[in-house]
């Protein structure tokens, strides 16, 4: 008992791995919907990404001469890999998840010093790199799993992933299509109205694309559970959804022919995944209460700007990365008033 141990002398059973595992649990419903609507491709991508993430992490930690076991068990690499896999098209060759996650782990996480030190969200860095480097593979989204359509089973997807071979009699034309966001964007560019664009899209749901709306709703519920469990706070998701929703509402009201409805934007693409799971990554997000509101709102507004005026159909990754850059400044200017100090 010679070691000086500073107070406090008790701790509740909280840990980084508990935080990370809670995030994983909260993702499960959305992932199930993803597989339900777009086939088992997600699970194949996810398995490759997880394995590659853990191996890369272990390898780099060995290079850095850091303890490997606690870092692997903290669950942060697992969460990065899962979030990253969720951004990929279900029908992708094996090297897409592999290259993306290895790049993310090395360049976005460990070159900055590992867990807690990275300014940019690693999953989004991996995704952005792939999108820029391999646009063709990254924009080939699967058609929904519907009885009237040709859908791929487990083995088909696995074979495609590792050999690139598709079942005979099918081609990418039949198996993949643009996402609702992508389709809407191109149609508007062709001077179509939003209504016409949506009418021409084969698989629209009640408020957004077929399947997409359910995936978004379930991610929203998972995120709400995280808020209830106090793993994340409400500030970033609320601010981001408000930023996106309000911007979309103003645009929609001013020019309904060329701007899709706020609901379409809120339940399309990676909106809910981004709001509750990606923007809330504590390491790369703002930490002060006011800062989180600004950070979230900034992401929301940027999403709309890039979705409408930008060159990419979805914009969560770029918006998050852009706001990641602003975090130190936001945190600096939004410090709370310290007890006993004037406001």
């Amino acid at each position: 008992m010679s070691l000086i141990i500073s107070s406090p002398h008790q701790h509740p059973a909280n840990s980084v791995s508990r935080v990370m595992l809670s995030v994983v649990y909260a993702l499960i419903p959305g992932c199930i919907a993803h597989v339900w609507f777009f086939g088992p491709g997600l699970l194949v991508n996810m398995s490759i990404a997880i394995a590659a993430a853990l191996l890369t992490e272990a390898w780099i930690l060995r290079l850095r001469r850091r303890p490997i076991k606690p870092a692997l068990y903290d669950g942060s690499a697992l969460v990065t890999a899962i979030l990253f896999a969720l951004t990929l098209p279900p029908l992708a060759p094996w090297w897409i998840p592999f290259v993306g996650i290895v790049f993310a782990m090395i360049f976005a996480k460990h070159l900055y010093g590992g867990l807690g030190q990275n300014p940019f969200n690693p999953a989004m860095v991996g995704y952005a790199m792939l999108l820029i480097a391999f646009p063709q593979e990254m924009t080939r989204w699967s058609v929904p799993q519907l009885p009237e359509l040709h859908s791929l089973g487990w083995l088909d997807v696995l074979r495609h992933s590792f050999t690139g071979a598709l079942p005979t009699g099918t081609g990418y034309d039949a198996l993949t299509m643009a996402t609702p966001l992508d389709h809407t964007k191109t149609q508007i560019a062709l001077d179509q109205t939003v209504q016409a664009a949506h009418a021409s899209y084969k698989f629209m749901g009640q408020i957004a694309g077929y399947g997409w709306e359910w995936i978004n709703i379930l991610f929203m519920f998972g995120g709400a559970w995280l808020i209830v469990r106090r793993i994340i706070t409400w500030h970033i998701p609320a601010a981001m959804l408000c930023g996106l929703g309000l911007f979309a509402l103003v645009a929609f009201l001013s020019a309904p022919a060329t701007h899709a409805s706020p609901l379409f934007h809120l339940f399309s693409g990676a909106t809910m995944l981004g709001a509750f799971f990606i923007a809330t990554d504590p390491v790369t997000a703002a930490t002060t209460t006011r800062g989180r509101l600004i950070y979230g709102a900034g992401i929301g507004v940027l999403i709309y700007i890039i979705r409408y005026w930008g060159g990419y159909p979805d914009a969560v990754a770029f918006s998050v990365l852009l706001m990641n850059m602003a975090v130190p400044t936001i945190d600096y200017y939004t410090q709370p008033r310290v007890f006993g100090h004037k406001g």
Binding site: M1, Q10, N14, V19, V283, T287, P336, K342
Partner: protein, 553 residues
Amino acid sequence: MMPMKLGQFHGGLRLPGCKADSMLSPVTAAPIPPRLYVPLKQHIGAAAEPVIRIGDHVLKGQLLADSDSHVTAPVHAPTSGTVVEIVEHTVPHPSGMTAPCIVIETDGKDEWRPNLSAHSQYHLLSPNELRQIIRDAGIVGLGGAGFPAFLKLNPGQDKLVETLILNGAECEPYITCDAMLMQERARDILDGLHIMRHAVQARHCIIGIEDHNSAAIAAMQAALSKEEQKHISIIAIPTRYPTGGEKQLIKVLTNKEVPSHKLPIDIGVVCHNVGTAFAVADAVLRGIPLISRYVTITGGAIKTPQNLITQFGTPMAFLLDHCGLQRDKLSRLLMGGPMMGLQISDLQTPVIKTSNCLLALGPGEAGDTHPEMPCIRCGECARVCPAQLLPQQLYWWSRARDFDKVQDYNLFDCIECGCCAWVCPSHIPLVQYYRFAKTEIWQQERDKRKSDHARDRHEFRQLRMERKKREDEERKRKKKELLQRANAGKDETKKSAIDEALARVQAKKAQQQTESRNTDNLTPAQQKQIEAADARRANQTPADTTGDEGSEA
């Protein structure tokens, strides 16, 4: 009781109380150990110096040590016995360091010093006299810090005390000594409060007690008379750690914030612990100096947790054994609570004035020993910080040893309550980092003062040397000039020198003529005296009419 809207401080924690175990039995006096190790410093300030000699027989309550310093507190004999030595002995301190202790071999008679001066009519005494009594009784803040109470009872001449607060919050888990004191000695606490109120001339008083502590609230309410209710309110405050922190309690009770780097008195508030009030009552009304206190002995390694009236200097091991310490179960011994307590590694460390609790944590009770993980910036620490700091920024800059930056983030507003470290999912010992940074900054400031002083001295010396050099040069230059002039026109100079000398002599002569004589500036009285003397002289020698008036010297 007047209705009052309670304030609220940011953050804080709801902690498991763990208090019931030590409140089962009434408080009894701890047995007297064979030897007491009474430290000369049990407070904030200068250590007291012994006034007894080795071999002296001392009586209970007899003065053992005192000091001339302003910030200090005397130390008294907790029981009767013989002073056998004054040695370096382990004292309660984070480093487990040793300090001088007076060792008393107790005689078991517990014999009081005669002539204890009780002042039942305390209101006839002036505040200054009261403070002197409280000082001489060695009373320090018993809530934990141990700041001499008489100083805190001295608001200063120009400061009005609006509110005197008694802190009965006891927000740390496990600790129950104040709760038991309020349950058992409510009347004495109120008496002490009256005396304190008289000493600071406070307008009204508030006693703040956490709302889970209903027995203490009830006991205090019952002791409070109708008359007293006019100026004393007992307020149940929400149970939330660290509501017993002075600034937090003031915020809750008065909704006023003590400004950063200021004292409560600057907003008209004085705050004392209930235990201190009890000690004040003992000192003033009964003449009993501070020689013992209520101490909670509890924790998973203790068979019969309880509160004991313990004499200062009692070795902790003696007290713990009395309560059935199971040494094989002891994982960590703390003085104080689990949030801010001090780890004690030597069981022979004595109980001192600030020892409110001995917490012998059992297996698994000391929390998990997770390794420290990297900070993931989750912000939980900022959410719970009662000072509304950004603990993670403080951690970051402390770790980077950027002590300017860490002060920009208001390190010195941190009260070290431990909330941030408690919630940290990465198990970072945050408070340790802050203490490290504070200590380093203090050290740097000391070094800076030292070097400033040295620099000032050096610069002054430099200045002195330069001045001397300048003066020397000046002198040399003048000499040279004079010499040059002399060489240039020697005769002329000689002549002029003679002329000058002549002129000087003449001037001197002239001056002597006009030089004032002692008859020049006379007062009328002196003039009269002279005239009288002249008249006498004239009478004696009427024929002698001397014209020389100023001849008498």
